[in-house]
């Protein structure tokens, strides 16, 4: 094939990738933080709600989970401003989209966790006279966390990878940086090798950290 690898140009533009990676992480952290709030609130609401509310929450979850993220990203960035009078940057637009997107996945994770909390624990909480709110904070949520942590970690990693879609609306995150180098230096194989390594190292480092949290959570209480 006669292709010789030459990484020099990649290193020269490495700030594009490094800055991109940091932005990817930032996008992920902010979106997931908002997504966690959405997910927790809706999951707690769901398990105690009546049919109508359940139906609405389930529709949100099912709809988001069954539509490609790229379409939602376009819809929010190019579509929404045509019908509502609001201006926002590509970055804000993406964070909002990924937050709503991750919220749908996290509702599902938290809901199944809450439903897996053994009946006996809730009854025991009642028996010692805890109010519903106290039962939620001191019994159901801690138990749910322990049950859902592994699934939660996997969801976080996959949402981190989803930040790459921000490149389609020119948010200069890691994948965007890769494309920039791809088009401007043509060291194509090199740049994607480096970017692959960067996603892998970051992703597995995150996973490792989350597993440590899981372990800590299991032993700390």
């Amino acid at each position: 094939m006669g292709y010789t690898l030459n990484f020099n140009l990649i290193w020269r533009h490495f700030d594009k990738l490094w800055g991109g990676l940091l932005l990817s992480l930032e996008l992920a952290v902010i979106s997931i933080a908002i997504g966690i709030v959405i997910g927790l609130v809706l999951a707690v609401w769901y398990v105690s709600a009546g049919r109508v509310v359940r139906g609405i929450i389930a529709s949100y979850v099912e709809f988001i989970r069954n539509v490609p993220l790229i379409l939602l990203v376009y819809l929010v960035f190019y579509g929404l401003p045509t019908v509502i009078d609001l201006a926002y940057s590509a970055q804000t637009s993406f964070v909002a989209t990924l937050a709503v997107y991750s919220g749908a996945y996290l509702v599902e994770v938290f809901r199944s966790g809450l439903e897996a909390v053994p009946r006996g624990q809730i009854d025991a909480g009642k028996a010692i006279g805890l109010t519903p709110w106290q039962r939620l904070v001191h019994v159901r949520l801690p138990t749910m966390m322990r049950i859902t942590l592994p699934a939660l970690s996997n969801t976080f990693i996959s949402l981190f990878k989803d930040t790459s879609v921000a490149s389609v609306i020119s948010v200069p995150e890691l994948t965007y940086g890769a494309q920039w180098i791809n088009f401007n230096t043509f060291r194509i194989v090199e740049v994607y090798l480096v970017v692959t390594a960067m996603y892998l190292v970051t992703g597995y480092a995150l996973l490792f950290a989350l597993r440590l949290v899981e372990r800590w959570y299991r032993t700390a209480r």
Partner: protein, 216 residues
């Protein structure tokens, strides 16, 4: 407005058909490759197991978009020229294959060791054990997550629009480019993707119930 969209409907339908066609190809090819590599991962010699492990962990560790660009732009750079359609199918198939490998590994691993031992004890050979004892059981555990994961192929296929392939996503963007009716068209597109994927996820739930008896 509605008139313009109605005018574009055949064009959108073509894009939708291409989305389904890409998804179908990817699903079928990845099923074959994934089962072959999955068996390699579970039963193969150490070097093969390592190779499949590295392949799967790498592909599952990076965004599909990066994989698509890597394949699409990287292959011509090393002298392999594929039509963009096939480059897209290849990239999505790699992504989906890694998933299938993991479903298969999980399905086989979930079968108690005693099943293989009982099959050995009546004198079945390795291949017979796989054919008559392990696979029929693994199949029932493989099916629901696999069908569930078919939606990932459909959703992932929307990314091939970035390679200039006129799938549903790209068709929508092109019609918007001409009509400026962004919101109705994105919603129409979302509903189409939703329709396909929701039907698939209902089917997987049905299958799960149907094979519930297997939970000993």
């Amino acid at each position: 407005m509605l008139g313009q969209i109605a005018y574009a409907l055949p064009f959108l339908a073509e894009g939708f058909a291409l989305t389904l066609w890409v998804s179908l190809l990817v699903v079928v090819l990845s099923l074959i490759a994934g089962v072959v590599f999955g068996v390699g991962l579970v039963y193969g010699p150490a070097p093969l197991r390592w190779a499949v492990r590295i392949f799967s962990d790498t592909v599952r560790g990076i965004p599909i978009l990066v994989l698509i660009f890597f394949v699409y732009y990287g292959m011509p750079a090393v002298g392999v020229h594929l039509q963009s359609f096939w480059a897209a199918v290849l990239a999505l198939t790699l992504f989906k294959t890694a998933q299938v490998v993991e479903y298969l590994r999980g399905a086989v691993a979930s079968i108690p060791k005693g099943q293989s031992e009982a099959a050995m004890a009546i004198g079945l050979t390795f291949r017979q054990r796989l054919t008559y004892v392990i696979f029929p059981q693994a199949f029932r555990r493989f099916l629901p997550p696999w069908i569930n994961g078919v939606t990932d192929a459909v959703k992932g296929s929307a990314l091939v629009s970035l390679l200039g392939i006129t799938d549903l996503m790209q068709a929508i963007n092109q019609v918007i480019g001409r009509t400026y009716e962004a919101m109705p068209l994105y919603i129409l597109g979302a509903l189409l993707y939703f329709g396909v994927n929701y039907a698939l996820s209902l089917a997987s739930r049905r299958l799960e119930q149907r094979f519930a008896f297997i939970r000993e």
